[in-house]
Amino acid sequence: MKKILIKGGTLVFPQKGVFQDVDILLESGLITRIGKGIEDSRAHLINASNLLVGPGFINIHVHLREPGRETEENLLTGSRAAARGGFTSVVSMPNTHPPIDNPILVRYLLLRAKEIGLVNIFPAGAITVGLEGKEMAEYGLLKEAGVIALSDDGRGVQDARLLYLAFQYAQYFNLPFILHEEDENLSRDGEISEGKVATLSGKRAIPRVAEESLMARDLVLAYRTGARVHFTHLSTSLEVELLRWFQEKMPVSADVTPHHLLLIEDDVLGLGTEAKVKPPLRSLEDQKALKEGIKEGVISILASDHAPHPSEDKSRSFSEAPFGISNLEITVPLYAKALIEEGIINWVELWEKLSYNPALFLGLDNKGILEEGRDADITIVDPGTRKRVEVSNFESQGKNCPFENWSLPGWPVYTIVDGRIVMAEGSIVESEFC
């Protein structure tokens, strides 16, 4: 395997919270040297002046739609989108057709991911069989096959006893939970957030309590059982407060999506179905609370909830269109706009939430850290140059994105996975010449 020498850049060390202008050498899938003035004539050279170089971004919430809906997204198109988005690892959600609730499907996904060989794909397994919320899936066998976490994402687990037992049982196998919180008796057939826009437009409302009440219940369940849980896509201010309160008592984490930081309920009026998403876009006050939570560190992980859908589905009437936003390749620039341009956090903090913290949560000991001997998963970002979003150029098959034509800073320019360059200057590197 070819050596890669990245020179002249600013290295980001999220585990220490510092930047340093030093070089880094990658060899045989590992970081072999970090230091000033490294020279190696046999290494492939990347000139990283004016660029930020840090451990690869890890996205703990994406939908790759395989198996079952490969025409909407699949492991190849999703991997290409991830590589372009600067993500070296993604956690794929199990709400596929069939759902990832048994070990054979996990093995299939991992084999496919290996064949494609672009980014690391870590499948999440289902909490319940068929995501139906009735019976526990086989966590031990799923873990042996390779799942990294458990999630019924797309649905909340409605039955408290089932989740209570699941929280106990999963600890035997050391599996964490990624929880989508939604009380279906409260969200019912709601379309957008309760509030001004729903009132004026007559659209059916999803109350905040749909998410908040289930999250409160599950915080209590996790506290009493000792399960490691993570709440995905927070959207309300009370959720941030609940999290803050429980973080004093136990390890518990949460993530947001970029769209909840950049759009609010009012945007649904102009953007239509492209802004139809679950949880729904909420008010400006909720958005401020999410940003405050990020600044404080209460929200410690930044994810995507990349949810590709075909255009013909999104072009149906508002009520008929599916929920979801495709954003995997612009997630990092969207966060750069929402958080760095607004002065909420800096690049090293952003890196911590996009790489170090997700690695820690997932137990990926050799990722999320720049250090000799760790995995050579590296993302290089150009913090200075702005570019316009062109949805039609997405590698993802999901063109359902409300950010068309937005001017964003902070685009990833190189993605290196296991010591191999998979994306350079925004283009996928098809294969390595040795």
Binding site: Y139, R161, L165, Y172
Partner: protein, 308 residues
């Protein structure tokens, strides 16, 4: 020894000396069982009724055999063809049996505490053959006798009990007995079937099973009931078998291999896989024979207490 209990309700109520006495008598009867003919006259003129309100073959037949070998008259009461079907209460039925002047009533019931309730209600000797999730003292005694015959000591003996501890009266009684005799007990199994409060029995909970069985002398596997899966405690039989069923690597070690015990009947392919031979768990057969012996010892001891 002067026996002071009218009934045998649980190991919890027995002192170390009392358990040792029953084991000593059990040992005597166990040796006796190897002789033929094996009829004793000790229990002649005494009547025993098996009052089983939960399905059981092994324990009931074992008590019946023990009673008959001692020379007792034995009557079996089963709930299927009984006045229970007509709605008679437990109290009325038990009182009726008592008025028929049985000397010993052996009871099994799905509710915890029924044996104690009947013992207070009725003048005859009550032997608990399993009450709900509480105790099954003669099972513990037979397990202890099996261990004593194999090892000759309890002090410092290490026993790991694996499986559905939560619902197991076998695990409760055996743990109480082992602790009283100075052994060390470790619990492991699916966390849903092994809540932390189980440590109140005096055992140490260790996850995963591989850790719990490290260095133990005995691995005691509990029978897993299919209905526990239906009640959501674990996802599937195949997963249970894969992670909580006996593994060759639990036994494979440089020094002596741990011995395998099980209350029976074994779910082949679940607690113990098909790759194991009968020889790997031959102690289970000895447990059955010891069962008759300790039940003879129990009957003898209770009836003797009456004479004193």
């Amino acid at each position: 020894m002067k026996w002071k209990h009218k009934d045998l309700l649980g190991i919890n109520l027995l002192s170390k000396e009392e358990i040792e006495y029953l084991l000593e008598r059990g040992k005597y009867f166990r040796e006796f069982l190897d002789c033929s003919p094996k009829k004793m006259k000790y229990g002649e003129g005494y009547c025993l009724v098996n009052f089983f309100l939960e399905p059981s073959t092994r324990t009931r037949v074992s008590f019946e055999t023990a009673g008959r070998l001692l020379g007792m008259e034995v009557v079996n009461f089963t709930s299927e063809a009984s006045s229970f079907q007509k709605g008679e209460s437990l109290e009325d039925t038990a009182k009726t049996l008592s008025r028929m002047k049985f000397d010993v009533l052996v009871v099994r019931h799905h509710q915890s505490g029924v044996a104690e309730y009947l013992a207070q209600l009725l003048p005859l000797h009550v032997i608990n053959a399993g009450d709900g999730m509480r105790e099954h003292p003669t099972q513990a005694l037979l397990d202890l006798l099996t261990l004593q015959r194999k090892f000759g000591y309890f002090q410092g003996l290490k026993v790991a009990i694996v499986g559905d501890i939560l619902h197991s009266r076998v695990a409760r009684s055996l743990t109480l007995g082992l602790k009283k005799l100075g052994a060390e007990v470790f619990f492991s199994g699916p966390p849903t079937l092994l809540p932390l409060a189980m440590e109140h029995l005096g055992a140490k909970i260790i996850f995963p099973v591989e850790e719990a069985v490290k260095g133990v002398d005995v691995i005691y596997l509990l029978r897993i009931q299919k209905e526990r899966q239906e009640a959501g405690y674990f996802p599937s039989i195949r997963e249970y078998a894969h992670f909580f069923g006996l593994k060759e690597k639990w036994l494979d070690r440089e020094n002596s291999r741990p011995l395998i015990m099980h209350p029976g009947p074994v779910n082949r392919g679940v607690e113990i896989g098909y790759s194991f031979t009968e020889e790997d768990f031959s102690l289970i057969e000895e447990q059955v024979t010891c069962g008759v012996a300790v039940r003879m010892a129990t009957l003898e001891t209770l009836l003797q207490g009456e004479e004193q």
